[in-house]
């Protein structure tokens, strides 16, 4: 019955929903998870790589982690080709601001640019929305370290900790339990590793399947580091040392009070798995 309101982005359904936006979010829920945690002395971004093959030429750097400017990094969940367009747009916005104002763009301002672009695709032009959600981590003189989430509707919010992509509900519930306001970067790294281990498809943590990045201040300058495989192996070891044997599965604390309407739409043709989603 609601099918006739599916096709055009620029119309509401009788229930007041934008189906194309919701379908975009459904596409993202099939993508590899990304987790962000804000610490007192930095921000952690962690992600699960979906596309792993021995044949893959991995010379192009990271699959899900991107640098936007000296002081802003992003993690991606969704359709990779859409993400590339938005990442490029974010980079250009940041540089344009620097050209005009001779300063680094405030993080929230960059989010506004990206979010406004995404919003345009839900209201004008009849084009489909971007099938990407981002976690942006940044530092500026106004609000120090910050973590933001941006979704296909064009909405964005600041978070202390959040997750996007597959199993993000269980990831968020773990974060709700274990996050504390005075968490340090090192503790946040271990918490992110814990969240990844509980929400990833595979039973064991594997450095090949993970991407970790941190944003922190080193001698007054913002340092964006994407972990190398060796460093990930070390981090996994450090995490496993904190786990005293087999633990009861904590994902039993799933947040069942999901008031997000994106859970209520009909699945139908949105179930097709895009291999271009990562």
């Amino acid at each position: 019955m609601a099918r006739r309101y599916d096709s055009r982005t620029t119309i509401f359904s009788p229930e007041g929903r934008l189906y194309q936006v919701e379908y975009a979010m459904e596409a993202i829920s099939h993508a590899g998870a990304a987790v962000g945690i804000l610490a007192t002395d930095g921000v952690v971004l962690a992600a699960e790589k979906k596309v792993i093959s021995k044949l893959l030429e991995s010379s192009k750097g990271a699959e899900k982690m991107y640098k936007i400017d000296h002081h802003i990094a992003a993690a991606v969940a969704g359709i990779t080709s859409d993400a590339n367009i938005l990442i490029n747009y974010a980079r250009l916005s940041a540089q344009r601001h620097t050209l005009s104002f001779r300063e680094l763009i405030p993080v929230e301002e960059l989010l506004t640019h990206v979010a406004n672009l995404k919003q345009g695709y839900t209201q004008f032009g009849g084009l489909r929305p971007f099938g990407v959600s981002f976690l942006f981590a940044g530092y500026d003189k106004h609000h120090k370290f910050q973590l933001y989430e941006s979704d296909p509707s064009g909405n964005f919010g600041g978070w202390k900790a959040t997750a996007i992509g597959a199993n993000n509900q269980s990831a968020i519930s773990i974060l709700k339990q274990d996050y504390k306001d005075d968490i340090t970067l090192q503790e946040a790294l271990l918490l992110a590793m814990k969240v990844m281990s509980k929400t990833m498809d595979s039973t064991t943590l594997n450095a090949e399947k993970l991407e970790f990045a941190t944003l922190r201040l080193v001698e007054g300058e913002v340092e964006h580091k994407i972990f190398k495989e060796k460093e990930l192996v070390e981090l996994i070891k450090a995490y496993q040392a904190t786990v005293p044997g087999a633990q009861p599965d904590e994902s039993a604390g799933l947040d069942s009070q999901n008031t997000d309407s994106s859970a209520r739409f009909h699945p139908c043709d949105t179930r097709r798995r895009y291999s271009s989603i990562a």
Binding site: K60, G61, K67, D69, N88, R91, Q95, R96, T98, L99
Partner: protein
């Protein structure tokens, strides 16, 4: 009021030289308007990357603006490519930007100096619409290039070590800007070597 060319409105001098596995780049420090000095800390050489420096002579506003625009392009390059730019590639970017404004140009004459990814020295000069030259020895730009060419041709020799190069570069520049009414008030010299770079400020004739 003196009638002078737009390239002589602010006055400047930039010099780059090749040494043995090193390059040097230097500029004067004067920012003036038609013979009236305004400040004496206006560098015309800019660090673009650890081993890549850009020198810009000509109209001061264009020197500043072009530097800012090139920094934009360079930042985008590094983010997209995930690596640093080679000096020769950067020179091509500058040439492209300048020619794009062929019929309304930036009044600058750039100089590029750096070491590429194999630490081979590279220097390059350009006119205001982007025609590049890559000589084997030195590049001069500014309001009194005649003097610069004269001192360089006399005092330059190939394969100088970093400290030697610094000495020759400094003397060539200082002697030339002393003969230029519009450039001077001190100089800043940078030598780039595979191990790192050093920058020294010179105090010359303060007029």
């Amino acid at each position: 009021r003196v009638a002078m060319s737009i390239m002589q409105y602010n006055g400047s001098a930039v010099l780059a030289m090749k040494g043995k596995n090193c390059v040097g780049i230097a500029s004067d420090l004067c920012f003036g308007v038609q013979g009236r000095m305004i400040t004496t800390n206006f560098r015309k050489t800019f660090r673009m990357q650890e081993k890549l420096y850009l020198g810009l002579t000509g109209l001061a506003t264009d020197v500043q603006t072009l530097h800012e625009r090139l920094e934009f392009r360079l930042n985008m390059y590094k983010l997209r490519e995930g690596r640093e730019i080679k000096p020769s590639t950067f020179a091509s970017v500058i040439s492209n930007v300048l020619y794009a404004h062929r019929f309304g140009p930036y009044f600058v004459e750039p100089v590029v100096a750096g070491l590429d990814d194999t630490n081979t020295p590279f220097i390059c000069g350009m006119d205001l619409i982007g025609a590049p030259v890559t000589p084997p020895d030195f590049v001069c730009a500014g309001s009194n290039t005649e003097a610069l060419f004269g001192t360089c041709e006399t005092m330059y020799r190939p394969d100088m070590e970093p400290e030697e190069l610094f000495e020759v570069l400094s003397q060539c520049l200082l002697a030339s800007i002393d003969r230029d009414a519009l450039a001077g008030w001190g100089a800043v010299v940078t030598i780039i070597t595979p191990e790192g770079s050093f920058t020294r400020t010179l105090k010359g004739r303060q007029d």
